[in-house]
């Protein structure tokens, strides 16, 4: 066996998505070649034509399950994978395409396609963890590059990655950003959203729009009341909860209560 084949193997898989999270791996310009030196990239069709047979030590999975074929494929990938890490809002909650879960997708197909009979799709968009065991998930629409690099490094070194479970509010404080909701009256999902992005939106005078999904045990109802006090109606609150993580249980249940 050559040294090269002893390196841990990494595979990158795509389901229904925009490709932005796997692009984040290629966007690690300063780390990419080092990572590529530490692992054997065994399957990553967006980046290379080279393809090695499984099993794979680490699989990164982007995208949500939206077709019958996806269900078969994710089970095959799970069987071939040592550690399976889901990356991004589509893989961890169903993504923006999970808005179909709140509607009747059969009514949607003819709105987009002239020949609906050519289209095969499930009525829901669901996260990977609804179908197979997931070892670790990276949130975000898109994921954070820093979290991705930290996770790959941690897995290569056999330690758990350092991933925060606090709300975006903590990152605003750390960044020294004045609260856009308290001081500026701007509706913000930061108090119920998991941190990890670096609290970007408030630093740009904008309320958080929840692209990292709900934090652990969020008090969405308390935040909704705060939004109401700021003049946002139920429809506005429902729309805010139903974006890129609409199908995440805490956001889904809170939006269903007001819909």
């Amino acid at each position: 066996m050559t040294t090269a084949t002893k390196k841990p193997t990494l595979a990158v898989w795509k389901f229904s998505s925009c490709d932005g999270c796997q692009l984040s791996l290629l966007d690690c310009e300063d780390e990419l070649l080092a990572v590529a030196g530490a692992v054997q990239i065994a399957y990553f069709p967006e980046a290379t034509s080279a393809e090695l047979e499984g099993p794979y030590d680490i699989s990164l999975v982007e995208g949500s399950v939206t077709t019958p074929h996806d269900i078969d494929r994710i089970h095959e990938i799970r069987e071939q994978s040592g550690l399976l890490v889901t990356i991004g809002a589509c893989a961890t909650s169903g993504g923006i395409q999970a808005l179909r879960n709140f509607a009747d997708v059969k009514e949607w197909i003819p709105l987009v396609y002239a020949s609906p009979e050519f289209i095969t799709t499930l009525e829901t968009s669901t996260p990977i963890a609804d179908h197979v065991k997931v070892d670790l998930e990276l949130r975000g629409c898109p994921i954070s590059k820093e979290q991705l690099v930290e996770t790959v490094l941690a897995l290569l070194n056999g330690r758990p990655p350092r991933l925060p479970s606090t709300s975006v509010c903590f990152e605003c404080k750390a960044r020294g950003t004045t609260c856009v909701m308290v001081a500026g009256g701007t509706p913000c999902l930061g108090p119920v959203t998991q941190s990890g992005c670096g609290a970007i939106c408030p630093a740009y005078n904008r309320g958080c729009y929840g692209c990292f999904g709900p934090m652990e045990s969020p008090n969405v109802e308390a935040l909704a009341q705060q939004w109401q006090a700021l003049g946002v109606d139920d429809d506005g609150i429902v729309r805010a909860l139903r974006t890129f993580n609409a199908n995440a249980p805490a956001f889904r249940e809170a939006s269903n209560e007001r819909a």
Binding site: K14, F15, S16, S17, C18, D19, G20, C21, L23, S24, L26, D27, E29, D30, L32, L33, A36, F44, P45, E46, A47, T48, S49, A50, E51, T66, T67, D70, G95, I96, Q97, L99, R100, A103, V105, E107, W108, I109, L111, V112, Y113, A114, S115, F118, I119, T121, C141, P142, C197, I200, C201, A203, Y204, N205, R206, Y209, C211, R239, T243, F244
Partner: protein, 435 residues
């Protein structure tokens, strides 16, 4: 293979085309040395953006449609914003418009370098990908990564992050960057401009298959600048229309093998959008440096060999770095950073030059700003028929190649278009059947 009827068939398959964005496939069927059928298929599962936008607020369209494509989110943000601004009757103040254009320059650099250096160049050099190329030419790959990063840094600083930036809104920006924030970008962009010139000289030395097509080019044109975030839709066949007239001239049809829709131009048929089209229709508007580099590497006024699109992308990368520097040099932070968008009932159209070609949007909204109808025509679905024509032409003149070589040549032909299948809705499986 010999068929029962005595004919011979030839079949080559590639089930998942690598180094493209999204999931696509291709089929080529050859019988008795005649190409019977060529298909470029898109299997990416549908995500129903045009349906899920119904009932959303008009201000949400930019962030939602950005999620069509993680490689060119600015194209969607800008086209959707333009359309909504048209409905609301907003004219962007010059500095606000230039910030949007600056973001777009960042996206062009990021997307073009990703495609040319990391996805397409390996085709010409016989590597599986950029990581494999780096084993022999680490210097080149490191240069490309640094160049790509320069584009992403614009998106990070001005937009908040490189993928799905957060700072753009209908009417402008949430926060205008300070002069100091932009000035800090200058040294690296100056390096990037020089590196892009070197990069153009390098890709121009590649061995290009001898193949030309008399394309109908379609692109935006804007007097006085190389059109990116605004302009009229023009063609090499004499079309010159406002973006709102698009549907009177272009039609989309849904074909069975694809989850994307094919576009045709009335009276012309299939057409080409993207770098070759922009260059053919607006090369005179490139910056002097970009024009000089184009001339130096022998591009001429029109490039009809699609394999040379990699050179045109490199020239556009020079331009994007040059243009970003020009915008930064004249920058005065706009105050306020956006025009408040007040909805009114109506229909708005927006069209901008995504790295792969024009990305066209139409929205109908009511007086409360609720989206009633959304229609989006991404660049790759417009190029799909032309990609098939190229495959037909390339395969016809390349039948002497072995199956492996022919398969590779066909994949390269598709990659000429930097197809963004996630945009087009989205899979690349490749099959050649020879009968």
């Amino acid at each position: 293979m010999n068929e029962p009827d005595g004919s011979t068939t030839r079949e080559i398959r590639t089930d998942y085309l690598a180094r493209v964005e999204g999931e696509g496939a291709m089929l080529v069927r050859v019988r008795d040395d005649k190409v019977e059928e060529v298909q470029f298929k898109i299997f990416e599962p549908p995500r129903f953006f045009e349906a899920l936008l119904r009932g959303r607020q008009f201000t949400e369209a930019p962030d939602i449609t950005a999620r069509i494509c993680g490689i060119c989110p600015i194209a969607y943000i800008a086209s959707a914003s333009n359309a909504m601004e048209a409905v609301c009757g907003i004219e962007l103040p010059e500095q606000v418009r230039l910030l949007r254009r600056l973001m777009y320059c960042g996206e062009w650099i990021e997307s073009h370098v990703l495609h040319t250096a990391m996805l397409h160049a390996p085709d010409f050099l016989g590597y599986d990908g950029a990581v494999e190329l780096a084993r022999d030419r680490r210097d080149l790959v490191e240069m490309a990564l640094r160049l790509k990063k320069a584009g992403n840094t614009i998106m990070d600083v001005v937009g908040g992050r490189a993928v799905h930036p957060v700072n753009l809104r209908v009417g402008g920006m949430y926060r205008a960057p300070t002069r100091a924030e932009l000035a800090a970008l200058v040294p690296e962009l100056e390096w990037a401009r020089d590196a892009a010139v070197e990069f153009t000289r390098w890709v121009a030395t590649f061995d290009f298959p001898d193949y030309e097509q008399d394309y109908a080019f379609v692109a935006l044109r804007q007097p006085g600048e190389y059109a990116i975030e605004r302009g009229r839709i023009v063609s090499s066949t004499g079309l010159d229309i406002d973006v709102s007239e698009y549907e009177q001239h272009f039609t989309e049809t849904h074909v069975e093998r694809s989850n994307a829709l094919h576009s045709t131009l009335a009276g012309v048929g299939n057409y080409l959008v993207g770098p070759l089209a922009r260059y053919a229709l607006s090369s005179a508007e490139l910056s002097p440096l970009a024009r000089d580099v184009a001339a130096e590497v022998g591009l001429g006024d029109v490039v009809r060999n699609p394999f040379r699109s990699i050179v045109v992308r490199a020239v556009e990368t020079v331009y994007a770095a040059d243009e970003a520097l020009r915008i930064i040099a004249q920058y005065e932070p706009p105050e306020p950073s956006f025009v408040e968008a007040v909805p009114r009932a109506g229909t708005g159209h927006g069209c901008t030059e995504a790295p792969r070609g024009i990305c066209w949007h139409r929205y109908e909204i009511d007086a409360a700003g609720t989206i009633l109808v959304a229609k989006i025509v991404p660049p790759t679905s417009q190029n799909q028929k032309t990609i098939e024509e190229d495959l037909l032409g390339v395969v016809t003149q390349s039948l002497h190649l072995s199956d492996e070589e022919l398969s590779h040549r066909c994949e390269q032909t598709i990659r000429n278009y930097d197809p963004c299948i996630s945009c087009a809705t989205h899979f690349l499986r490749f099959e050649i059947e020879r009968s």
